[in-house]
Symmetry: C2
Subunit: 190 residues, 2 copies
């Protein structure tokens, strides 16, 4: 956090993701950013422009190469890594994701960016499961497994994100490794 613009963008992301575009005022954003409302308009012209520039700025992409190279072709370990990476990307982008969910109608074009993560992970998973099938570790259809893994992983993420008050005693990390254990066993041969 350094320049004025960054401060404003950060503040806007926090607030937009919490309350949604319309419910947040530029005054509020300025206050949260610690600048005057005038400064906000000088830098971004309009509220909507600020919204769009915020979306553009904060998309953290996963590092696929590093991930793919670290795989060991051991189902449980690999899936653990992949799931953790996915959770990590989702978590880093959580505010943007919430911002998108709360303001879908405002940024249809942005959907494409958001869906990039699941899609890229799906491709990665597809390749992985295909290879594992070739190696004789599993028999299921890779596509099916990939979709399954993605959607259920997303459930873990989202539950822990928005329903954290839900009195599930188990913490998220344990939850993930349990999930991977079950999933691995569920798709393994024998």
């Amino acid at each position: 956090m350094c320049t004025t613009e960054e401060k404003i963008i950060n503040a806007s992301i926090v607030l937009f993701s919490q309350k949604g575009y319309t419910a947040v005022t530029t005054k509020e954003i300025a206050k949260e950013a610690g600048v005057s409302q005038m400064t906000l308009f000088r830098h971004f012209e309009s509220k909507h422009n600020l919204f769009e520039r915020s979306l553009d700025k904060f998309v953290f992409s996963p590092q696929f190469k590093a991930l793919f190279e670290s795989l060991e072709w051991d189902l449980e370990r690999d899936l653990n890594k992949i799931c953790s990476s996915y959770q990590d990307v989702l978590y880093k982008n959580r505010k943007i994701i919430l911002m998108h969910l709360k303001n879908e109608e405002l940024n249809p074009h942005f959907e494409a960016v958001l869906y990039k993560f699941p899609n890229e992970f799906k491709k990665l998973l597809n390749r992985y499961f295909e290879e594992m099938r070739n190696r004789g570790a599993i028999i299921e259809n890779p596509e099916t497994l990939a979709v399954n893994f993605l959607t259920t992983s997303f459930g873990l993420f989202f539950t822990s994100l928005v329903m954290n008050k839900l009195t599930f005693d188990t913490d998220i990390q344990t939850c993930i490794s349990n999930y991977i254990k079950i999933f691995t066993k569920g798709i393994s041969l024998l």
Copy 2:
């Protein structure tokens, strides 16, 4: 759909769940409901009151008795039923759920109502897995399994709800039964 109040409540739920509380105007709701704005205020006094009455009205509860009595103590079949029921409840309440997600700050008390479903299902699942463990079908901790099943099921639901444009070729029904298959195998003995 019949009385004027119902028409207005229906319209408000549609719009609130699509755009969020603040972004929707009473004029818009009145138009969507096919009544005049004045009629809206005559019936509901204020926008916020309408919002709360909408929340109160549209909560579809699951029928636990029927569900519990139809269980056959066959893991895959039972989990299929339970998951379907859960998906059904979530789907019937999808607009309310979205409405809640988009307006969290407006209705903190309503969270309790929303979390009722997962919590009730969790209890049901707990009892079920405990019984199955007693019968020697599984060994895992029932609580762990329940949490896992719930969160991942929610992922299926939510993905199909808000990310339907995601180009997952598999349809939701197939997706569910694949998921149950994997999960069942993952938690079964041997």
